[in-house]
């Protein structure tokens, strides 16, 4: 075989692959006869919403599924002509971490917290090649340097908790690159990262790919990344690949119904117009949340962590104030302080009532008019209560005069209002999908007829198309009930679709504040500009204004 012909041969060829899971006697087909090829040096993206089987497909390439609960009724995975599915365990171990490597979504948990960076990276080297200790160290330093970790020599002895999320993901990439793989499988490698860090990591992967000429299987739900990054796209839904093609072609002329649906699923619509005369709902002046750090035997306060440091805001009825920033910038802390769920200094006025003078107990009568919707639709509903109990709990406290029957009617109304079938209210949260759960959480807030709702990243755990629906629902409810929203998010696209005023936060301080149009279209500070570039164009800024 000539070298040219060898290059034409696909590096990885997945043929008719199926994956089935067996539980309690019934089996479920998670992946249904999918086929795709990856050529040398090519990036193929598997795109789909959660539950479409994209991660399972990627894991089965390296046989990393929980066998025997999982099985492959059909198919083969040919890597350079060798069928990995039929390979025995020692053979496949030889491939894993060597010629095919993988990076995972969660940088917080995919590194061993008890071992140093050096040990973890060099372990991969030692596993697949006989190598002397000092040579291994030299290579580790080189790898860390390649993935853009500053002062790699000093970082060798670091433990994962001493690194930021982005740095951890870089270490993961270094581990994946250690043995010069021919194929890198990246399973949502940037989903857990901030937009600015995401842009940097993507830049890095792109750079490394061209330098080493490796192929990449990129799994993601983010179409923006795909468009920028992939050579070819496979669109997956319900375990099947419904469309495959070159990236540009898919984005220009999508053929399949589902692809069109996915492409049109971006959050759309416009925020409510600014209303300078609407009644003031929430007004805060110089709010500070400082967590004291105590040290020594006498527990003296050594210094403070300033989660929110002197922040002021105004929020009128029917308006949405977007709070954006990287993780750790104090967005959520600000929201909790305004709700008086944590201790804070400074003045907070709600409906002209001074909240900062009230204790936690005295806040109780006001709780019904200020509500919160949390990020994680799986964590924010008690798994052991039925939907009716969850939504009705607030009514039982704030509207004691209602009889059980009236309360049940209110609950049913609230569920109908957020677009759920009221007949499902005796069911338990685990029977609902992520988007439905978020609707339930919204219904729990709305049933009390609040005036102020804090929305803490309500869409970031949801699929793109569900996100758009939830955004529409929120806007709808706002218009109908004159609600004031404090919308906390790192997803600038969603903020743009909902907020008419925006605060950009960093390290507890306001970087920039003003009307949404001004912040999005004419950002003034470097930080905001970098944030916008990363969020809308996936461009990394190298000037050091953002964290790494």
């Amino acid at each position: 075989m000539s070298a040219a012909a060898k290059n034409q041969e696909p590096l990885l060829s997945v043929r008719d692959l199926s994956v089935a899971f067996h539980q309690e006697g019934n089996s479920q087909l998670a992946v249904d006869r999918i086929s795709f090829d990856i050529k040398r040096g090519e990036t193929v993206a598997l795109v789909g919403e959660s539950g479409s089987g994209k991660s399972v497909s990627a894991l089965s390439v390296l046989k990393l599924l929980p066998y025997p609960a999982a099985s492959h009724p059909s198919g083969e995975v040919l890597f350079k002509g060798q069928d990995l599915l039929a390979a025995r365990e020692p053979e496949i171990r030889d491939v894993r971490g060597n010629s095919v490597t993988m990076i995972f979504q969660e940088p917080m948990t995919s590194l061993n917290p008890l071992q140093t960076v050096e040990k973890q990276v060099s372990e991969i080297l030692h596993l697949h090649q006989p190598i002397a200790a000092d040579e291994a160290r030299r290579q580790v330093i080189e790898l860390l340097d390649q993935v853009g970790i500053r002062d790699p020599r000093q970082r060798l002895a670091s433990y994962p908790h001493q690194l930021s999320g982005g740095q951890r993901q870089r270490v993961m990439i270094a581990m994946a690159l250690a043995n010069r793989p021919e194929l890198l499988i990246a399973d949502e490698p940037t989903t857990a990262l901030d937009v600015t860090v995401q842009a940097q990591i993507l830049e890095l992967l792109k750079d490394l790919k061209t330098r080493h000429g490796m192929a990449m299987l990129f799994i993601t739900h983010d179409l923006g990344i795909v468009r920028k990054f992939a050579d070819r796209v496979c669109v997956m839904t319900k375990g099947q690949i419904v469309e495959t093609g070159p990236t540009a072609e898919i984005f220009e002329t999508p053929q399949h119904e589902y692809t069109k649906h996915l492409l049109s699923a971006e959050p759309k619509g416009n925020p409510p117009p600014r209303a300078e005369t609407a009644p003031m709902v929430m007004q805060a002046r110089d709010v500070k949340v400082w967590f004291p750090v105590k040290q020594g035997f006498l527990r003296r306060t050594v210094y403070h962590i300033k989660a929110v440091d002197g922040l002021s805001l105004d929020l009128r009825a029917g308006q949405t104030l977007g709070v954006v920033g990287e993780s750790g910038s104090g967005k959520t802390t600000l929201g909790l302080a305004l709700m008086r769920l944590i201790r804070s200094q400074g003045e907070i006025h709600f409906n002209k009532l001074p909240l900062h003078e009230r204790s936690f107990k005295q806040m109780k009568p006001l709780r019904s008019s200020m509500q919160v919707v949390f990020q994680d639709p799986f964590g924010s509903l008690s798994p052991r209560m039925s939907i009716a109990d969850i939504v009705g709990e607030g009514l039982a406290i704030h509207a004691r005069e209602l009889s059980a029957k009236e309360r049940d009617r209110e609950v049913a109304n609230a569920l109908e209002e957020v677009g759920l079938d009221a007949a499902t209210r005796w069911r338990y949260p685990h029977e609902f999908s992520g988007g439905q759960r978020q609707r339930i959480a919204i219904a729990r807030a709305m049933v009390l007829k609040p005036r102020f709702v804090m929305l803490d990243e309500p869409t970031s755990a949801l699929d793109m198309s569900v996100q758009a629906q939830v955004v529409d629902l929120l806007r709808d409810l706002q218009a109908r009930h004159e609600l004031a929203y404090l919308f906390i998010s790192h997803d600038l696209k969603v903020v743009r679709a909902l907020a008419n005023d925006v605060i950009v936060m960093r390290a507890g301080k306001v970087v920039e504040a003003g009307s949404a149009d001004k912040i999005f279209d004419r950002p003034e500070t470097d930080y905001t500009k970098a944030l916008m570039a990363a969020a809308f164009n996936l461009e990394a800024t190298t000037t050091g204004v953002v964290s790494e």
């Binding site: 709780r367 008690s382 677009g419 499902t424 005796w426």
Partner: protein, 383 residues
Amino acid sequence: MNAPSSTMDDAYDSKGRPKGWLSPTNRRRWANFKANRRGYWSLWIFMILFIASLLAEFIANDRPILVSYKGEILYPVAVDYPEEKFGGFLARTDYRDPFIREEIEANGWMLWPPIRYSYTTANSYIPHSAPTAPFWLMDEETRCQAYPLGDEDPGCTLGNMNWLGTDDQARDVTARMIYGFRISVLFGLTLTVFSAVIGVAAGAVQGYFGGWTDLLLQRFIEIWSSMPVLYILLIIAAVLPPGFWILLGIMLLFSWVAFVGVVRAEFLRARNFEYVNAARALGVGNGTIMFRHLLPNAMVATLTFLPFILSGSITTLTSLDFLGFGLPPGSPSLGELIAQGKRNLQAPWLGLTAFFTISIMLSLLIFIGEATRDAFDPRKTFR
């Protein structure tokens, strides 16, 4: 998109209301429990034995269940009749007395339980000195040789035989075993329930409030649980008269600690869950949050522990009885039976009976416990 993505649609009726009284989660748990065949059968066997032992008075008793005397129906199992009713002179009738028996049978009939001994009844017609062997180890003549008419005597019936022999005070071992099983299980259950209530409450408070509450209570528990329980029991037993409730109280003092760890951990973990925060934002009070939102989480760990704590309590009671510091003398107790077996090595039926009773009881409980653990394990898959 409005229909829940559920595979359990058969759990709800056409209006969406759940069928039956079990929530879907509990329904799945019950199915998981049943899938463990050994545990499921153990539960049935244990329930049958336990209910039977609760009705011990109708199985092994020294009084008849029903008596018809001169046209009158009497219930000696429930009512104490003075003996003068039948022409005797004692305050309580001894129905086993041949005189009374003949008097009643001449004027009516008696319905006896299958075993005509209670746990204190001594057999006055044992063929030789106590302890005597089970009747099926002796030939028919020796069995009834102490009765006035030998094996022709009306008292020489199956109900008067000692099926598992007698102990060294001529009391029937079968009767003592049945009553001993009952008191062991009841003691274990009561102790477990009380310790669970105290332990869960203490763990909940520590886990939920954390901080100084947690710190102080944890240190207290460390000191408390490092006390030598057995010696304290011995000291207290020397001062207070031993009895079911006193023993229970003393053992309760130390046994609740077992639950604190798991419950505290569950509460510590769950108190920052988003749904707990959401409840706080709704204005729900601390007590309600603990009870409604956090306790169900902690109950999984607690329920998984229960059968093992139960068998532990039974073992403790048995060992105290064995040492002679347990229930008051004369009580039916498996520990005391073991002690007798140890003193009378020539009478192996004593030790063997106690051994099999205890080991079967504890095995059943452990099997049930394993099935419970399976039932509450969310990651458990069946193939």
